[in-house]
């Protein structure tokens, strides 16, 4: 009996188990404290949808063998540039979203390609190098945002300041453009249909890719580079492919995130974005070398839901921004767990 229990626990994985338990406990606590469950559920769905694409961005990186993409901020910045351009030229509604995508995706392809070249030179240290390359570019972009030749008064500092503001509203452009698309209610719970459909669409694309010749080649290159080489696969090329896809998904992901949130966060906003995304996929059961779409869905759902329920719960019990602390402990804790329990290569 004990063996079966431990075997089941091993299969589920420690992170999933712990977070799952937290979720159950919190939900029970929320019910006891008579918190509005329908609002919590609506929140869970929205938070799931808005974060899931960023987590999806981890998959190509892991599958190609470059580990967790801690250079995610690079893709995020491409997305932000796209959004800022869309607003600058006063696009609105769906058009603004499409323009943002249209600008960010090619930019992300180029950025991903260059970043991929870089990663090929430091095999084995992708995570730490990616982190600091990401950090430096974000800091460098701070200077850019300050000096950028943008003029739309919605974005620029008021009273004759130069440069863009820290947060820029999306009210006039693509705020909630996906969330509201075909949205409907089940009782008191709001379903952000467009958001979920968009995510599902991206999952489908990724799934088809993984079953294509290049997708398989990338997977093989990430699983066993020497085996891949013997099949004639160009491992370096596959790593770059994975990095490009990851960066593009990050760019798309931040646009999805921001349209739900309603604001763009420039300057140091993107700095730490890689970590919660990495934590989410790890919670979902992925490892540094293996990740599937299922991991993304489970992990994002568990992680975001726990945070959604924790926040009001903590506000009742404890004072202060405890949910932020909770999030930090969980995400970093999960990443530490993954770093220290990998198989020896």
């Amino acid at each position: 009996m004990k063996e079966r229990l431990t075997a089941a626990m091993d299969k589920i994985g420690l992170p999933r188990l712990i977070i799952g338990l937290f979720l159950i406990v919190f939900c029970v606590g929320a019910a006891i404290l008579k918190l509005p469950m329908s609002m919590l559920l609506s929140d869970m769905l929205v938070r799931f949808g808005m974060n899931a694409v960023l987590v999806l961005a981890m998959i190509p990186a892991i599958r190609a063998g470059t580990g967790l993409n801690f250079g995610l901020p690079l893709g995020v910045i491409c997305g932000l540039i796209g959004a800022v351009v869309a607003i600058e030229y006063k696009f609105s509604g769906l058009t603004s979203f499409l323009v943002a995508l249209g600008v960010s995706i090619p930019l992300a392809v180029l950025t991903g390609y260059l970043y991929g070249l870089l990663l090929n030179r430091i095999k084995g240290q992708e995570m730490v190098v990616g982190t600091y390359v990401g950090f430096s570019i974000v800091s460098g972009m701070c200077i850019f945002w300050l000096l950028a030749p943008f003029h739309n008064p919605e974005m620029v500092w008021a009273y004759g300041g130069t440069g863009l503001r820290n947060t820029i509203t999306l009210e006039s452009s693509f705020d909630k453009i996906l969330n509201n698309f075909l949205a409907f209610n089940i009782g008191q719970v709001q379903i952000p249909t467009g958001l979920l459909l968009f995510f599902a669409f991206l999952c489908l694309l990724l799934w088809f890719f993984s079953r294509s010749k290049s997708g398989m080649a990338m997977h093989v290159a990430g699983s066993n580079p020497r085996f891949a080489q013997s099949c004639g696969i160009n491992v370096n090329k596959m790593r770059i492919l994975g990095t490009v896809l990851s960066t593009v998904l990050a760019a798309v992901g931040i646009l999805v995130y921001n349209q739900s949130y309603g604001f763009l966060s420039l300057y140091n906003g993107p700095l730490m974005m890689a970590f919660p995304a990495a934590a989410a996929i790890l919670i979902g059961g992925a490892s540094l070398r293996r990740a599937t779409i299922g991991h993304v869905i489970i992990g994002t759902f568990l992680f975001q839901s726990v945070l959604v329920v924790a926040s009001p719960l903590f506000n009742v019990i404890v004072e202060g921004s405890f949910s932020e602390i909770f999030r930090g402990i969980i995400s970093n804790g999960v990443i530490l767990y993954a770093l220290t329990t990998g198989r020896e290569e």
Binding site: F70, L118, R121, I122, G124, Q125, M127, V128, V129, T131, Y132, V133, F135, S136, S139, G140, C142, I143, L146, L147, T162, F275, V318, E319, G320, S321, F322, I325, G328, I329, N332, G333, I335, L336, L339, T340, T341, G342, E345
Partner: protein
Amino acid sequence: MMAMKLELAKNSSVLTVRIRQKLIEMAVPLLFLVLCGIGAYFAQLSPVFLINEIIMRMARNPLLVLALIIPVVAGMGMNFAITLGAMAGQIGLIIITHYEINGITGLLVAALIATPFAVLFGYLTGKLLNRAKGKEMITSMIFGFFANYVWQLFFLAFVGSIIPMRNEKLILSTGVGLRNTIDLAGIRQSLDNLLKIQVVQGLSIPVSTLLVVALFCVLITFFMKTKLGQDIRAVGQNMEIARISGIDVDRVRIYAIIISTVLAAWGQLIWLQNIGTLNTYGSHVQVGLFAVAALLIGGASVTKATIWQVLLGTFLFHTLFIISPVAGRNLVGDAQIGEFFRVFVAYGVIAVTLLLHA
């Protein structure tokens, strides 16, 4: 086997390799020297002010950077987890502030309290890093983030509620959580003032602190000549050979991190006694980043770090730190740019060095 022996034999031109290495080592500091020169020109600060600032920083910062040397020698790369050492030091300060122990005595008591915490934190870090061999740097970085959140959990949520504090002055107005800034007036400049020489108006030299820094330089040099120091060097060069020779590799690595963390704790104490204010939730956060950047700017790499590089790097990094905002303001009309620039430099130096040497 056979081929490895042949390849080793091919490295016959040791001299040219050495010269090339030296050039690469000096390239980064030289670049930053030039940058500082350019910045200084645009900043147009008064020489007395500049020199005073530089001397002050050469007194209060180096120990934090010295803390990084030993893990590098042990082959564990940049120890971003010196944040935990800084936190240990801060625990000491919070306690002496709570019990209102002032002056140099207060500082020494703080050090006494901080040390066992630092040893514990270093031990935990070391154990963690032993389970992540080959990925030490990213692990120490994430552990630093993690520890910071635990710190917040403890001092923001637990202190005042689960952990009662008698000294009301330290608690936030809500009754739970430590204040955001804590005035360290009691121990402010306590070390600096022990032996301070005022050269001219606006330029004073904290000789006592500089002597402490010099003392640690000597201690570290001495340490590397001991058996443990030699073992650390061996482990850093080649873990397998060290293991086969009978050295307890895992233990040695833990020692290295413990020493690093303790030095960081004391370093943070020296730093804070000069600043005079504890930013409860911020003072320890960027310790790792800035210390690593300073060390790398001094010409060190992931596999090699010397005391001279620590001193040179501290000098260059902090000079740039002082100059950038002012230069930014004079050049572009915005001090913000200067501030962004120096953070960009810190991150960028680390990214580039990792790229070149990892």
